[in-house]
């Protein structure tokens, strides 16, 4: 191997090194230019998602089944007409067991006509045969181990750092895996956008310091919303945890929902 360094050789080497140094910024500029065309840029942020941990809780003792929450959610989030809901209110009726049957509980009847938005018809069983009846508002359970996030093949649904489980509508391909994966039935395929949709905890509201629409309109504070990273002891969510014995839905599935319910029966799924 020759050790001679000719002038031509040296110049070529310097040129190559310079080109190498220059390529990086050129590539970065080119990337920015390409992304301007193909990938849109988002709005400016005045909100740090790592500084919050939003969560909702439901006090079913206080729910009167007015359905204002389901209706407000539809209006606030422009949820399509028809059987599509981001939140809804189910009516549970547990009948008395037949006298002398030796059973503790009778049948469980669940209904939810149009999400509970327009009230409930007369119960299918007469009042005297009802052992227990109550309303259960439902929404995204904000799982710690969300099955919907695990199955998404394109990274369109995700656990945001502030606790919301969200969908990137630009990345969603509408395959519907997440809809099948959600054990709580909280997702649907929008007939308009053909992408999956779900409760976002009214992300555009909570990031502005407002409450989610359903919490805002609830007349009895059956829905409690708060920030677990808020150190103030008077945060409604802390009050709720202190004053209630709580349970999660379908705990045997290991999804670890962060939405806790107070005042529901074992029949609620």
């Amino acid at each position: 191997m020759s050790r001679n360094v000719s002038r031509r050789n040296l110049l070529a080497k310097i040129g190559a090194a310079l080109a190498g140094v220059l390529v990086a910024p050129v590539a970065r500029t080119a990337k920015a230019a390409v992304q301007k065309v193909f990938v849109s840029t988002g709005a400016a942020k005045g909100y740090d998602p790592t500084k919050h941990r939003w969560v909702m809780a439901i006090d079913a003792n206080r729910c009167i089944g007015c359905g204002l929450c389901a209706e407000a959610c539809k209006k606030e989030n422009h949820v399509p007409e028809g059987p599509y809901f981001r939140t809804w209110v189910e009516r549970y009726i547990i009948t008395k067991p037949a006298p002398g049957s030796g059973a503790a509980r009778g049948e469980t009847l669940v209904d939810c006509p149009s999400g509970g938005m327009h009230g409930y018809p007369e119960p299918a069983v007469p009042k005297e045969e009802i052992q227990h009846s109550f309303f259960v508002p439902k929404l995204c359970n904000l799982c710690e181990h969300s099955p919907c996030v695990q199955v998404c093949p394109v990274g369109a649904t995700f656990d945001a750092p502030d606790g919301a489980v969200l969908i990137d509508p630009k990345y969603c391909i509408g395959c519907g895996f997440c809809i099948q994966a959600c054990p709580y039935g909280c997702r649907f395929l929008s007939p308009i956008t053909k992408t999956a949709e779900k409760c976002t905890l009214c992300y555009h509201r909570i990031t502005r310091g407002l409450k989610p629409a359903c919490v805002e309109v609830c007349p009895t504070q059956a829905r409690v919303f708060g920030d677990l990273k808020n150190p103030a002891p008077e945060d409604p969510i802390r009050q709720f945890y202190e004053n209630n014995k709580v349970q999660a839905l379908k705990p045997h599935l290991g999804t670890e929902p962060r939405v806790f319910y107070a005042g529901i029966d074992k029949e609620v799924r």
Binding site: V34, A43, P49, G119, F158, K170, C202, Q221
Partner: protein
Amino acid sequence: MRPKFKIPPQVLRILLLAIGIVTSYSIARYFLTPTTFRQYGWYRGEALSELQAREPMFAGKKACEECHSDEMAKLLKHEHKSLSCEGCHGPGQAHSDNPDVKIDQLNYGPCVRCHEANPSRPKWLKQIVIKNHYTGSKCTECHVPHAPTEVP
């Protein structure tokens, strides 16, 4: 002398093709992956600000109080203090931004929405069977919604 090793041309072609495919994929991925992908995790960080950008429909009780503080003061003295204005009156962001935009007029629907008797409703809630209670046209003939214990 051993013959010099030469890559057979058919292998060389496949090799070059493979390198070409991987290189073009890497270049395309570099340029098309949004910069905010993996900002917080395996998703587009920008999606957060895009979801955030939507305008609310419900203004919230505080916004109502800014102008209607007298009504709010009255409401807070009575049993309906926990009610949200927009629960009965409907979404009010447009009205809050521009007071000339009228908010929906109410009928007596919102009253029975909560107070119509239903065996599933909790016992602490005051409930009526509307056809036994009053057959007139308006709840407000006898009740003041903002002050339920008062008589008009």
